[in-house]
């Protein structure tokens, strides 16, 4: 990657729009290029200086009234009272309700995006000859390897007896953040277990999703977001996750 490319891509990094592969290349470029690294810091500073809430404008009160006045009036009849309540008496309430819905929409959209990134990371690990950074079937080797590389200690369980062989671990990037990838094998299938810190977030029960032909078992436990990704069938992947969770609780 040259400085011209880095100069554009660093904005995508700041905006959380860069895929993990490019994010990694970019990090590598910053490590060797003082100028680009300084640019990144400058733009991050600039971003911090732009407080969106202080740069917004508020629409004049008359504008809303004029727009509402030009739209067809609510139907007369039995529902009128509730309509009036909804739109006149509770203008603020409806705004809050609508923004609440938006938050849900954005969060779901975000979840879906992260899911896409997790599957991309899985694919990359299979294609790029970069499945494993630390190769070991010993959980007591894999787990400490992440010390100093991540600000979280990922859980590593030995599931060999249950038919899932531990192959090792790898540092990967999801959502432009470093995550732990713990790699297992089931027969000829690879399972990547991605593990990212989610401090303070409530636990979330396992859910199975499917994307681009891959199955993803996702759950949240003990302040960690976890995604198990593989092309094995959903039942086996669910079993993997169940066994993994059970092994950690022992």
């Amino acid at each position: 990657m040259n400085c011209d490319e880095a100069g554009i891509l660093l904005h995508a990094l700041i905006d959380g729009e860069l895929d993990a592969g490019h994010a990694r290349e970019l990090e590598a470029h910053f490590a060797g290029c003082v100028g680009c690294a300084a640019q990144l810091r400058e733009f991050q500073e600039l971003r911090k200086s732009m407080k969106p809430e202080s740069l917004r404008y508020t629409a004049p009160a008359g504008l809303r009234a004029r727009i509402e006045g030009k739209l067809p009036a609510p139907r007369a009849g039995a529902s009128r009272r509730s309509v009036i309540k909804g739109f006149v008496g509770g203008a603020a309430l409806s705004a809050i309700a609508a923004s609440g819905v938006l938050v849900v929409v954005m969060r779901k959209d975000d979840d879906r995006r992260v899911l896409g990134e997790v599957v991309s990371a899985h694919l990359r690990s299979l294609q790029a000859q970069h499945l494993i950074d630390v190769e070991s079937t010993d959980q007591h080797t894999v787990k400490p390897w992440f010390n100093g590389r991540l600000d979280v200690a990922p859980p590593v369980a030995d599931l060999t007896a249950q038919g899932f062989t531990l192959l090792g671990g790898r540092l990967d990037y999801v959502d432009a953040k470093p995550v732990a990838a713990i790699v297992y094998r089931r027969r000829v299938h690879i399972i990547n277990l991605f593990c990212a810190p989610a401090p303070g977030a409530a636990n979330r029960a396992a859910a199975m999703e499917s994307l681009q032909g891959f199955n993803v078992r996702r759950w949240r436990d003990n302040g960690l977001n976890l995604w198990a990704v593989s092309d094995i069938n959903p039942d086996e992947l669910m079993e993997f996750g169940d066994k993994f969770e059970a092994a950690l609780k022992q």
Partner: protein, 206 residues
């Protein structure tokens, strides 16, 4: 360049569906209610964009009103998903159509990114000022002014990204350019804003 999954994935519309649900066979007043519920919460955002695009409170007022009425007339063409980019695209067309002649809003042809480098006033040449100068705080009025002084096509990507918090994909929809162009334009826009910011720091005598 951008994660393919981010662009290709369908937008989850669960929340929107929830709001719009059960309103399939309504008449004009039902349509108006649905429109108000979806569109009016974005009035401030739309007005903000109009203020930055037009740099005039009264023009922004008119443009937003026209935008909402036009959006309502064409509400049946809204295909669900987030409504904000759809509204913004309409607002941009309104601004373009009504005010482009007044030279307040100059959108030129597609070669804008290629030719922009020469056309843009350079606030300050030496961009290698230490980033520490950035740490000092301008008041928000200064930042508003600096954003307002950016050329229109750079101003709008800054406002859409930084103030209205749109994704690259949504910005691409609003301004009708490929995502790659959004990226290069945003990079240039931030570069100009940074230079202007540093120049303003120097001029503030601190």
């Amino acid at each position: 360049m951008i994660a393919a999954g981010h662009i290709a994935l369908p937008v989850c519309e669960a929340g929107t569906v929830m709001i719009a649900g059960g309103a399939a066979d309504v008449g004009d007043s039902g349509k108006a209610e649905r429109f108000k519920t979806l569109a009016l919460p974005h009035l401030d955002d739309t007005y903000t964009l109009a203020r930055y695009l037009l740099r005039s409170a009264s023009d922004a007022d008119d443009a937003v009103q026209e935008c909402y009425l036009r959006a309502f007339r064409h509400f049946n063409t809204f295909r669900g998903g987030p409504i904000k980019p759809w509204l913004f695209a309409i607002l941009r067309n309104v601004c373009h159509a009504s005010y482009a002649g007044g030279a307040r809003l100059v959108f030129t042809a597609d070669d804008i990114d290629a030719g922009a480098a020469q056309a843009i006033p350079i606030w300050r040449e030496d961009v290698d000022t230490p980033e520490q100068t950035m740490l000092r705080r301008h008041d928000s009025d200064t930042m508003r002014r600096l954003i307002g002084e950016l050329p229109a096509e750079f101003r709008e990507v800054i406002v859409l990204r930084e103030i209205n918090d749109l994704s690259y994909r949504d910005i691409a929809i609003v301004i009708e350019v490929p995502i790659g162009t959004v990226m290069s334009r945003l990079a240039r826009a931030r570069g100009m804003l940074r230079d202007a910011w540093i120049a303003a720091e120097g001029g503030s005598g601190s």
